[in-house]
Symmetry: C2
Subunit: 258 residues, 2 copies
């Protein structure tokens, strides 16, 4: 009875755009097989990808690419292939998971501005890796309380002027978050607390939610809410992602094969 609304929601999530097959596979393996030694059998993977409107041929091509990139490894047992993350793929997955699955209350609250002694490309990369955003020559902004490399002047403030929030809010991403927020809200109301989904539906829904969320959240530095314009929906999306992944937990892979 749920297949119709679910179909509409998965189509909406699939239609958000940017769903390259290899990238979708990275999400599927990252969400369903984070543990070492876990893998997905070929028929199960085809089932999941098919529900996301990906043809078997496209999945095969993308798997080939991910094997060449050292991300996925495939082993054959009889007539069935089993695919799993390589050590490299798992390391990268775990690294990204910290931000993708972070709890809403773990978001940075305060912010810090740095003035460095000079403009320096190496230092810029170092600061960006540490979570800071380049604002102007020698000036960076980032979450408060992080260790600051080097001997920069560390500054804090209270009021954030509008021009700075506009400068820090990427227009395209802001629109993408608003679109995702609309669909996640719809998922939340259409499949409320207590909804019981078959394991395959559950896997597909999770993967589509995580995929669309990670495409946005990994594309910008982690800054506190106060630094974005009022229409920035990152925090609202994170709260819904967290709620929905909790409502629809990761199914047992064994259950997916049935």
């Amino acid at each position: 009875m749920l297949s119709d609304p679910l179909h509409g929601l998965t189509t909406a999530l699939t239609d958000l755009g940017g769903q390259r097959v290899w990238s979708l596979l990275v999400t599927v393996f990252g969400d369903l097989t984070p543990e070492e030694g876990a893998g997905i059998d070929g028929p199960v993977l085809s089932g999941i990808m098919g529900r996301m409107n990906v043809r078997a041929e496209a999945t095969r091509v993308a798997l080939h690419r991910l094997r060449n990139d050292g991300w996925i490894t495939s082993t054959k047992s009889g007539r069935t292939s089993r695919h799993s993350l390589t050590d490299h793929g798992r390391r990268e997955t775990i690294q990204a998971s910290r931000r993708i699955y972070a709890r809403p209350d773990a978001a940075p609250g305060g912010w810090t501005v740095l003035l460095t002694e000079e403009a320096n490309g190496d230092q810029r990369s170092q600061l960006e890796t540490a979570g800071f955003t380049h604002l102007a020559p020698r000036i960076y902004i980032g979450p408060a309380g992080r260790p600051v490399p080097g001997n920069a002047l560390v500054l804090s403030g209270a009021e954030v002027p509008d021009w700075l929030r506009q400068q820090l809010t990427p227009e395209g991403l802001c629109a993408d978050y608003r679109a995702l927020h609309r669909i996640l809200s719809e998922v939340d109301s259409t499949l409320p607390k207590g909804t019981d989904l078959p394991p395959l539906d559950c896997a597909v829904l999770r993967c589509l939610i995580v995929h669309n969320w990670r495409r946005l959240v990994l594309k910008h530095p982690e800054l506190p809410r106060a630094l974005y314009t009022d229409d920035w929906r990152e925090q609202e999306c994170r709260a819904l992602v967290s709620t929905l992944l909790h409502r629809f937990p990761r199914p047992n892979l064994a259950d997916l094969a049935r």
Copy 2:
């Protein structure tokens, strides 16, 4: 009995350099005749300037220049000329007096960094007038608690890195303050509390102290101690200037004529 050490001290103060006669006259009028309607008779002025090793001819040339600049006006009463500040000269004098005669405890304690929306020459002049120093494109530093023009991001901090203190401390001025501090300390110990100077000596000593002090203090923005290197003697000089001007108060101009 005091004329010898006093002579040595006035010579030391005169030798600090940069004693252009017109500038020295601006100090003399500023310190001795700040009130509207006050003036200095020609012979008294000659007496004061003579004690500062300025020849009468040089004083006449400088007075001529200051009259042309609209700073000084001279009136004749019988055979005696009387010189006084014009309204313009008095306004400028009062403006500068705020910093020259500021009490040591009025020095700014905290500091603020501003990030402006864009680099803009007009805004830079406006901020510099408001007491801020340009640190880097779009970045200014100044005393905390001042009204900030425009919609800049207002920042504060605790630790000041060495490179910033070095950047903010002008080397030449730092050496000048050290030299002035040595002489003011000598004046303080040679002419201790309770010393009674004849009015003309008192006037000359005051003018030389104020003159050498204002040459330095008006040459840099007013920043808190924490932003300068450890060998910056502005605050120590200000304390001695304040003590000495209190110890040797402004004489009555009538007493100087005797």
